[in-house]
Symmetry: D2
Subunit: 376 residues, 4 copies
């Protein structure tokens, strides 16, 4: 079985997520990175290509050049990964899809909700696949959580609390001149209108919907820019209302000192409740109405098929972020090969909902709070 | 030094908190329970008196009877503890203060905001002390947290997240006929207009203000009654705005299955952040802007005077809820003896603010969310 | 029901454990401290008496004086608590028992094994009760653990690991001139031949036997004095063999920096395993052969009667060391009143076994390791 | 920079560790698996080769065939990974080294101590590199721990406690007919004379020596076969003496129900102490003599160069077992390229010491305990 060939857009020098995509995609031996338009600067693109060990001729100065050249090759790439700042997501995906290349895009889907709507339309008629990397859906116990809700173990969903705590923007590091990540993520021209809400809030939102299978209908948002001089929000506190009436809370922040990458989801049903945290990603706490409290662990015999398929190692051997990420790519590879459906990998509609969250949160917050239906 | 003499109002058969007040008050050997109007039913009051080991003649059928009789004794009680359902708080406190007996009242202050305003006026002119038992302010590391904020260790307070998670009302146990606690706490005539918000939300609110020294100015509340047929709220999600502009989130629930008595406070400053949880009450996590993460533990040499004074045992010997509660009584005893100020024990104004929270939360939630200034 | 009257031997100025005994004994309102021979120095005894709030006439200069005077009173003490350094345990207990006063003694039973044998003989013929405070047997979940083993939930016991980690003797604080606790505990004339093994090793040993119901038959010990100049051991590492052939490990240390009072017990059966730690005393982790992992919590409905009886508060309200200690006193009070058997409170035989551990460990270690049958 | 070419010996159908070596080796894009003698059964070797996606012509029926064929190729393999049962380790390594291929071997080094001595001699004169995969040395915070000891942060090492807890052999699964892992690991002909001690005890032992930089001089061992009918040990409890006189304890077990892969190391110095556990591999707890307790986390700015180099992701993105394993391969690749020294990757002498542990533990335990100098 040949390895699928991946091209990358973005991920050049200074990128964090580019290297992550490379490792995650290649981890299971089903995909290899063979080409890339890593930077709009040809020299930097070549530099990244060399670092990734790809053939120099396949490090392109633009995605347009990549699509043109690759289309001519017999060993052409099978798909592209988009690992750029947000404002490039739409044009890159549009070009890829129109050239017949499948797309795995980083999140959020686009820079604006309007762009997302356009991309949803494009994917609806595209002849090839589009998926996006809400990474956290790849954790085995997140998938187990989803299954338990779907199985009715929790009963009716009554409440959801989801948090994403970071502290790396507690100071104005975007003005330090040495932090490219902070620069583009706090710049509306490249990030879109969401700062924290767009960078990590959408992850939390997607996680809540992914696990519960419920859709958020309305929110009441308080977005703040707590570091002086910052244009975009760096702190988000949101009340949510799900489509079955259940309340929810979403807290995301990039100024919570001590918050590393603290994603946590709690789902309360009328029969049981779940608690999962990325800090201990291989555990899932389940509390039942009768008082029982149990821990489920990656690799456990009691887990469902989705969680088992997402685990590579025996119990007690920690798998982490890269392995979760790799699960998305493994499923995506199966989709491209026609051996799987990638049902658990977020698709265009999930991307659109994330953009709707951003737009609605900004709108609700600017309006001084108050319940606002999700603008979609 | 003689032990101060305590009378109790409420705390009869079926009461949880009465026994707790007795243990907490007596724990340090400075107070003894000698009298009580434990129930409006004389037989039940006598039964409770016998259980507590007090002289039969001092188990009264009403607080009025107690005040009348005790006033005549040379060994009369020094103060009363009010451990009744909320609607009795005001009349009992009013009678005590007017009879010259100091008062230690359970929370919330009263059943309604109007009552609280009246009680504030009464305490302002009373010749003796009034305090109330927001228990959690008695934990050594909560007091340490307060000190660290006051010392400037955290810098400017940027954000507060406080949670109080319970699950004991996940079913309609108030209709089981066997749960007196659930009955009165979910009954507006005895609880007032707040259910969860009045029972535990006020604790969370007080904790946030106690530690940060900041006052909440406005809130945006979503109160829910998630169990069918329940009149009062059993779930509260509130966005807060502090007087320095800092955002906050308060989550309290009694339907979160698996939530035992999960009180947790996180305070984020621009220099450091604190994380305290009742589950491990003898630890306080402190994260600094430079990445350092330290644990402070009860008994540690680095702690301030307040925390040290609130600890009885060497490091590693767990102290819990009763000891925290006892710290309030110990401080209160010092106040009555004139050897201390009880500066850390919540007073009438703190009680009023809790009632304001309830009223404002109910109002904001009914109005469909939206920012509402604290009605006080 | 009148409160039982307690006299105390030891517990004078500078004592840690005296105040603990006072609080624990009085916590449930069944006992009150009314007399004491708190120090061999009459002035100090009086000082302590005043601090404890007892009548000045009942603060005696010696236990002999106390027994003589109390025997004449109609409100004489019902029992004594012995809270002295170890070398006083035997003579004080002997005098009490021969005077007809029941005894609650601190551990270890005596200073030497020979003394313990004598005390066992005395208790066998005494007309009143003798018990000793291996405090940790009082924790609700320790009692639950014992019950689960007795019920067969664990199946055959295969292995036991028990640890007691402290760090307060990591420096030669006994030579600082300001640490009375360290002074007598590291002084063979007052402590006996065991340092760490006698102070905390016996607690760990008792806990293992208490929970498993099995008896240690032989050990292989390595005792160390790791701080220069210290005479007694401050670190103990012991391999154990139980009477059913199961292996065990006991680790106790007072030089493990960061060890606060880290008592932890793990018991492995062929059907299930238990893990309990004083750091989170209200939880018990149970792992089953089929992979299930559950948490039991104080107050939970699934707990047995012993654990329920040992819990005062609803789930999630932390109870700690003082409450565990108080459980021993409450059971002891019931024994004295004839309303209970105090079956869970360690008795003379348990005390003797602790002394046997000390003697055997010292012997095994001096002999250069090797398996040594328990000298008893 | 071309990817180094790896051949694998072992790792065929049913192997757990073969796939792990593949992922770990390839994770950083510096190595690719291109050949293998995956099984002594040619069909199975071909099957594995196909699964790994290598060219059919390079799936060999024996390592001898592989070495012969690869030596003729211009794109020959650069090194081999040995991922077989223990009894094949020596002959495979011998053949590789004599053919000029570098070796990365799984642990333990060989099946017997005599074989290990021979292999040490072979590596001493070999023209190429030999290393072995004590995986846990690859964790960033294990490397940080080592650095902190080397830097003197802990002061003099006083005590070491290392544990490795598993429960997967709590039943006689080796006789189920479906567990190849259990079969060979409990079979002396393939495992050697150590069961648990050889499978995981050596990991714990190596970790203790790796971090402390101290060497164990003598041990006192108690090995047990707790499951009826099992020939090799499944439970090991060992007292240790380090070369500076410090005591230590090593506990390893495969019958501890609930033990997943619970590796934990505690190192106590006279200035500070460390606590690391694989369950939370990205954290390291450091306790200081003055009472301070701090957490160090992967990615933290305070970490030393070794830990930083071993981390790929920002703080809070969990890295796990595969990433730790990959760190060994990355260092090994640098060694082969001449751009690094692989100083942190265990070498022949470390392998020999592990075999000495096994031999000495078996000997000490059979002799009935007692201190036994390490037979080396």
């Amino acid at each position: 079985m040949r390895r699928l060939r991946m091209g990358m857009i973005g991920g050049g020098p200074g990128s964090f997520i580019g290297g992550v995509h490379r490792i995650a995609a290649e981890l299971d031996g089903e995909i290899e990175l063979v080409a890339g338009a890593f930077s709009a600067d040809a020299a930097k693109s070549a530099e990244a290509g060399a670092k990734y060990g790809i053939d120099a001729s396949r490090a392109y100065p633009s995605y347009a050049a990549m699509f043109a050249a690759e289309a001519e090759r017999s060993d052409r790439i099978d798909f592209v990964t988009i690992a750029t700042p947000n404002h490039v997501h739409l044009p890159a995906a549009r070009a890829a899809l129109s050239s017949g290349f499948a797309v795995m895009s980083d999140k959020p889907m686009t820079a604006t909700l309007a762009e997302a709507r356009e991309l949803v339309r494009l994917t609806a008629t595209a002849k090839t696949a589009y998926r996006l990397t809400y990474t956290y859906t790849g954790y085995p116990l997140v998938r187990e959580a989803r299954r338990m809700v779907a199985d009715g173990t929790l009963g009716v969903i009554r409440k959801v609390v989801v948090e994403y705590s970071q502290g790396w923007l507690a100071e104005p590091v975007e003005r330090s001149g040495t932090n490219k990540q902070a620069e583009w993520r706090s710049d509306p021209r490249r990030s879109g209108e969401g700062g924290c809400i767009g960078d990590i809030g959408v992850h939390a939102f997607n996680l809540a919907e992914f696990v519960t299978g419920r859709r958020v209908q309305a929110i009441c948002a308080d977005l703040n820019s707590l570091v002086a001089g910052r244009v975009l929000d760096d702190d988000c506190n949101i009340l949510m209302r799900f489509d079955n009436g259940a309340p929810g809370v979403l807290i995301a922040s990039q100024i919570e000192i001590g918050g590393l990458n603290g994603l946590r989801l709690r789902v309360y049903g009328d029969k049981a409740a779940l608690d999962w945290s990325q800090e201990l990603p291989n555990k899932l706490t389940v509390n039942y109405l009768d008082g029982r409290c149990e821990l489920r662990r990656a690799g456990g015999g009691e887990l469902g098929a989705d969680a088992k398929a997402a685990t590579r190692l025996p119990m007690g051997h920690p798998e982490g972020y890269l392995e979760a990420f790799a699960n998305l790519y493994r499923d995506f590879a199966a989709l491209l090969r026609g051996t799987g459906t990638a049902a658990l990998v977020p698709a265009a509609d999930d991307g659109l909902r994330g953009m709707a969250l951003i737009a609605t949160a900004v709108s609700s917050s600017r309006a001084g709070g108050g319940w606002t239906p999700l603008i979609i």
